[in-house]
Amino acid sequence: MHSTTSAVTLALAVFLASAVESVEALTIIVAAGVSRGWRSALVGMAVAIGALVVLVAALGPALVYLVPVNVLRAVVGALLLVFGLQWLRKAVLRAVGLKAKHDEDAIFKQHVDALTVAEVPRPAATGRVDATGFVVAFKGTFLEGMEVIVIVLGLGGGDHQLGLASAAAGAAILVVAGVGVVVARQLAGVPENAMKTVVGLMLTSFGTFWAGEGLGVRWPGSDLAILVLVGIYAVVTWALVVLLRPSPQQVTPEQARA
């Protein structure tokens, strides 16, 4: 029962985190495709995916089978904790209006504008791969993919559930890619900010739990402690949003109109 709870929570955390990163990668790939040609964008994406697969094949088994499990848990726990706290902090700041909300439409427009005025003109339909479109799609896919890998190796490796974590990440990438192909554009309708808050809560909770386990902490209730940690951090996040929200006197006319 305890391990089922842990597995479901882990799969959900990996799925949501991977979906968020995939949406961000999709925005960059679509922007490169629209501005510089689809061939370059798709080749850039495919080469990045190939590089990521090689990286996982090299690092995954080495991490899980060569590093002692307690050391692995302490290190990935610390990593997840730092990453999760960064996400939660951004979520709080976005909720109180101190940081702009993640807007895929605005990011898409930014990328398209930058790529359209790139120094190298878009090649005519010669069938050649455009270097600018290739590099932008490669970097976007590779960097967002690296974050997915850190989450998969962190969450999956800490609990020896690498297969489950990889499957959850793969499912998220397929869902986002599938929807992206059907609608043929970036996914502005995805509630990314809410998803990021949930992922931040989960990464912080798993990070606390595993770092503690790696150090020798015996959590009451074993894996169920993860759910208690999620609850505590959710209440604290909500309280911070209430406490940090500017009072009506502090709100500028521009903020009030927004």
């Binding site: 302490a74 706290l85 960064q86 912080t204 770092a211 150090l215 951090y233």
Partner: protein
Amino acid sequence: MPARAPLLLRWLKAFGAFWWDFLVGDTPELLIGVLVAIGLVAVLVKGSSLNAAAVAVFPAAVVVLLGGSAYRARRSKS
């Protein structure tokens, strides 16, 4: 025009920049705070066998870190 650094060096620099941005970024206090909290928990568990204290202290430290970092951001933006 200055000569470009070798490809391997540029890749290593980019790799280092990725991890720096990933772990530190604009919130060095979170990385330092997490390391301090982990050190504290290690002392409680290994040195004094105070498991109950570690169970309470670790999440409390995380809460303090999150609150402190968010307050710091608000102060710097107001």
